[in-house]
């Protein structure tokens, strides 16, 4: 039975992909009809659930072996190879769970779309693209699917192309995506070598010299890293992710960055073979910088969706830190710690897809009912959108890595991995890993601060605009999608053991090592290394908190006074100040901006205080610089522009000059060839 399932698993996944592609075509046909939204999202929901069930059964089924499928398309001598193994199955779960949640959300949210025909065809196509990237088993199909995924998501980013800033977002995204694909192309070219066998199986078995391995690693960091949002390649992400419709933002942030991480794992861990330790230094360095920079950017942001996009950058950084640790351990043959760090990374991949999708859905719900993304124009939504605010609160607690939710478990596992690192023999790593641990801790603490700001300014306090005052709750489909994700956040947090066990086939396949079976530990506790090293039990922590909170509530309500009087808030003598006098996002971030901003953003406060007697309003202007953008991309864009202007003259030459130019080039090339040999 299981064997039959295993053979059909990859076929099932591919038929789901075919179904999604078919839907994309159907969506074009249906484009202007009224029922299109319901039909397309309903169908994607069903297909994603089928794909999800297929990969779940495959991964949890245990004894299943990797299965392949070769389609007679693509390069004539190669065909298109597709393969389902444990790593692919795990990422398929992430993709299709995110896809199913986004489709369910879209059933409600999609009705508010002004131009559904610009979204509907590309939504299933985007999902199909992500599925295909994970399934691809040769370099050619991989790159093709990768491009397909990028272009489908680009079309979704440009869905609302008339809104301010979206055109720029689409442009920057396109440039960065092309750059990333170029890096991937070169990486696969190097991997395939002179023999030029593009199948992953051949690449995996071929030996790679250290230089090639180092170059491939750097190219993968550029290619997959730019898609995932590694600093300094992240600049497109906070522009493009928020520009798309909210359920697509959720997919791009919660899922597509994970597909990029899949690409990185596939090449660096799987295809390159045994890693060398300097590789881990680069990954750890970039990961930790990304984590801290990402969350600092998020802290300074006042646009809700951009804040979430920056927070994705932070989480990608955290995942890369964990992958870097896994590389370091793997390079030194420490199988158990490597499996621990790798499992932590995968766990965080899963967690992030849960809570980031949830938070983007929440932002979408806010956008739907108020039309605002600027937090400083919101506030008080907890009274008007009680269900949305509750689930968003769950998401905020989970992403801030607080127990008993899932974010804490993966960070806990990462800290346990950090504590295993003194066993590493290299001095560079011994000195680096504590610093990386500190950065990780700093990022976690800043994330909590950032999400206090995000939730507090958006949902608490008093409404700062009429739109926030008249907001209403969103539809049932959207709410149920958010509630399901919130429940998953809690479940993964209180039952981490089964999740870790489910992830162990992936670690076995990629690293050849595994953690102790958590199902054998009594009381659903997790023990990653050994009981004396550290253990955590999310379920009991939750039970204890519930019991002690209920005890407190019971005693208070039994013995304390029940009297309660509602009155105006204490205004310190100023009765009824305007809601605009509340703390805003910018003022909330001010202390942290003072601490970190001066260095990281060259932040300056400019105060314009009129003289006494002058009735002009006082002004406070905050000056922030994005140093990566200004230091790296602007000079680059400037240089390209400059060169283009200079070379522009070539367009207006006479035929005689063109011919002499061609002649000169030919002579130079021949000369070079002559001297070269």
């Amino acid at each position: 039975m299981i064997a039959a399932l295993a053979v059909s698993a990859v076929v099932l996944q591919m038929s789901c992909v075919a179904g999604l592609l078919g839907l994309a075509i159907l969506a074009i046909a249906l484009s202007r009809s009224k029922s299109a939204t319901a039909v397309i999202y309903g169908a994607t929901l069903v297909i994603c659930l089928a794909a999800l069930a297929g990969s779940l059964i495959w991964l949890l089924g245990g004894a299943a072996k990797a299965t392949e499928l070769i389609l007679p398309i693509g390069l004539p001598w190669l065909g298109a190879h597709f393969r389902l193994d444990a790593l692919a199955a795990f990422f398929l779960i992430v993709v299709n769970l995110g896809g199913a949640a986004a489709s369910l959300y879209g059933l409600g949210y999609g009705h508010h779309e002004h131009t559904p025909y610009r979204v509907l065809p590309f939504f299933p196509a985007f999902l199909a693209g992500m599925n295909l990237v994970v399934l691809a088993d040769d370099a050619f199909s991989y790159l093709l699917c990768w491009e397909f995924m990028s272009l489908a998501s680009w079309a979704l980013v440009m869905a609302h192309h008339r809104e301010a800033g979206n055109a720029k977002a689409g442009y920057v995204y396109l440039v960065m995506a092309s750059f990333g694909t170029l890096a991937l192309l070169l990486a696969f070219g190097l991997l395939a070598g002179a023999a030029g066998d593009y199948g992953f199986a051949a690449i995996r078995n071929a030996p790679h010299t250290p230089y090639v391995a180092a170059l491939v690693l750097i190219l993968m960091l550029l290619g997959a890293g730019s898609k995932a949002g590694l600093v300094p390649l992240h600049v497109w992400l906070p522009l493009a992710h928020p520009a798309a419709p909210s359920h697509v933002s959720a997919l791009m942030s919660g899922v597509m960055t994970k597909v990029a991480i899949y690409g990185f794992i596939r090449v660096v861990f799987d295809l390159l073979g045994q890693p060398s330790w300097p590789a881990s230094v680069i990954v750890l360095f970039l990961g930790s910088i990304t984590a801290v920079m990402g969350i600092l950017y998020a802290m300074m942001e006042k646009d809700l969706k951009r804040l979430l996009a920056y927070s994705t950058i932070e989480n990608v950084g955290i995942i890369f830190v964990s992958l870097g640790l896994a590389l370091a351990f793997q390079a030194n043959g420490l199988k158990l710690p490597a499996a621990l760090a790798f499992t932590a990374a995968l766990f965080h991949v899963l967690n992030h897809s849960f809570f980031k999708s949830l938070l983007f859905f929440g932002a979408g719900a806010v956008l739907m009912s108020t039309g605002e993304r600027d937090m400083d124009k919101l506030g008080g939504l907890i009274h008007r959108m009680p269900f949305t605010s509750f689930v968003v609160l769950v998401g905020c607690v989970a992403i801030s890595a607080l127990p008993p939710f899932n974010g804490f478990v993966s960070e806990w596992l990462m800290f346990q991995a950090v504590l295993q690192s003194p066993e590493l023999p290299q001095w560079a790593l011994k000195i680096m890993v504590p610093a990386v641990g500190a950065m990780l801790a700093l990022a976690a603490a800043l994330a909590a601060a950032c999400f206090v700001k995000a939730f507090g300014v958006t949902f608490l306090g008093r409404p700062r605009s009429p739109a926030a005052e008249t907001a209403g709750e969103v539809d049932r489909y959207s709410l149920s999608a958010m509630f399901i994700l919130a429940a998953l956040c809690l479940l993964a947090g209180i039952l981490p053991g089964p999740v870790m066990d489910a992830l162990s086939p992936v670690a076995v396949e990629i690293l050849g090592g595994r953690l102790p079976v958590q199902a054998h530990v009594p009381w659903l506790t997790i023990v990653p290394i050994s009981e004396s090293r550290g253990s955590y039990n999310g379920l009991l922590v939750m039970v204890f908190i519930t019991i002690s909170a209920s005890l407190a509530v019971y005693f208070i309500h039994r013995f304390a006074s029940h009297a309660l009087r509602r009155g105006p808030a204490w205004g310190c003598g100023f009765t009824d100040p305007t809601p605009l006098a509340q703390y805003s996002g910018a003022s909330f971030a001010q202390p942290i901006r003072r601490v970190f901003g001066t260095m990281v953003f060259h932040a300056r406060d400019h105060v314009d205080m009129p003289a006494p007697g002058d009735t002009r309003p006082a002004r406070l202007r905050i000056e922030l610089h994005d140093l990566v953008w200004e230091g790296m991309y602007q000079p680059l864009a400037g240089a390209v522009g400059f060169a283009a202007d200079r070379l522009n003259r070539l367009q207006f030459l006479t035929i005689r000059r063109y011919l002499s130019l061609v002649f000169a080039t030919l002579v130079t090339l021949l000369l070079v060839l002559a001297i070269w040999s």
């Binding site: 610093a435 601060a449 004396s532 204890f544 304390a560 009297a563 309660l564 003022s587 202390p591």
Partner: protein, 318 residues
């Protein structure tokens, strides 16, 4: 039978911390008053304050949400569970293996997360200023605390607080540079996290300087009682933590019987008194610093923690 006695001992521990927490705060206040030649209120005043608050009506701002009303209980519960994880008179109690040092940081983080949210709920500037300063302080104190805990965990080979305490109590530890750094850094973090001088002043309601008090300004009645109680517990928790790791004398081993437990409890109370006295002495001798000096203070704690961890990565015997 064994499980029942385990639950009983754990229950006694949880009740003990609950009962001692207000006394500790009262004691510190009394000593502080005496040091500046004031009579000061009785050491039992915090209990009376709590009872008085419980009897009062709650005045709730018009637009306070359910979050505002739930937060005092959530905060209290999170701190209480964290306190239950710290060995006081005995190690290896029932809860000890549920969660470890990292979880204690995160539980305290949860308490702070909800308090900071509640500070923003009513929508006055005071709550906002308190919350934003509190999260700024926490953004530095939390990583510092994690690094300090890394130090302890690397020395003891475990993040399990009971194991750490047992190891520190054994003879094999000796004097270590890293632990010296860790204890100084932990004291600095404890001062910051408990809103004590020089970071914050628990006794004032002065707009420009206060952090914690500003955040909970809108609370009254039974809600305020829970928050105050939580704050008392948190101070006790930090002192117990420092005591059980760095001064683990006479902490009873698990299952050594009532007599050892009683001795442990007696010594524990003495430790609390000594720590309370030192805290009061320190607070009377120091001035509060400006809010924006706090990052430098906590940055020093962070660096000490990092240096300690680094030393342990370089050599396990440092």
């Amino acid at each position: 039978m064994v499980v029942i006695s385990d639950i009983l001992v754990q229950g006694i521990q949880m009740l003990l911390v609950l009962l001692l927490a207000p006394l500790l705060t009262g004691f510190v206040r009394k000593i502080k008053a005496r040091m500046v030649r004031r009579q000061g209120p009785s050491v039992l005043q915090p209990y009376r304050d709590l009872l008085r608050l419980l009897r009062k009506e709650v005045v709730l701002a018009d637009n306070a949400s359910w979050l505002f009303r739930v937060t005092p209980y959530v905060t209290f519960a999170a701190i209480w569970v964290a306190a239950a994880l710290v060995p006081t008179f005995a190690t290896g109690l029932l809860f000890n293996w549920t969660a470890d040092l990292i979880a204690i940081v995160a539980l305290l983080g949860s308490a702070r997360f909800f308090l900071a949210l509640a500070g923003m709920d009513v929508g006055t500037s005071f709550g906002g200023i308190g919350s934003s300063r509190e999260v700024m302080i926490a953004a530095l104190a939390e990583p510092a605390m994690l690094l300090i805990f890394f130090c302890m965990a690397l020395v003891a080979g475990s993040t399990q607080l009971s194991t750490v305490a047992n190891f520190m109590g054994s003879s094999g530890v000796g004097l270590r540079v890293s632990l010296g750094m860790a204890v100084i850094a932990l004291i600095m973090v404890a001062l910051a996290e408990n809103a004590r001088i020089p970071v914050d002043n628990p006794a004032t309601h002065l707009e420009l300087t206060m952090v914690h008090e500003a955040m909970v300004l809108e609370y009254s009645g039974r809600h305020l009682a829970m928050i105050e109680f939580g704050a008392f517990l948190k101070l006790l928790l930090y002192i117990s933590l420092i005591a059980c790791v760095f001064f683990p004398w006479k902490i009873a081993l698990f299952g050594t019987g009532p007599l050892a437990y009683a001795v442990g409890a007696g010594v524990y109370i003495v430790k609390l008194a000594v720590a309370g006295f030192l805290l009061a002495l320190f607070e009377t001798a120091t001035a509060k610093m400006r809010v924006f000096r706090v990052p430098q203070f906590l940055g020093a704690a962070l660096m000490l923690g990092l240096l300690g961890t680094l030393l342990l990565f370089v050599s396990r015997s440092l």
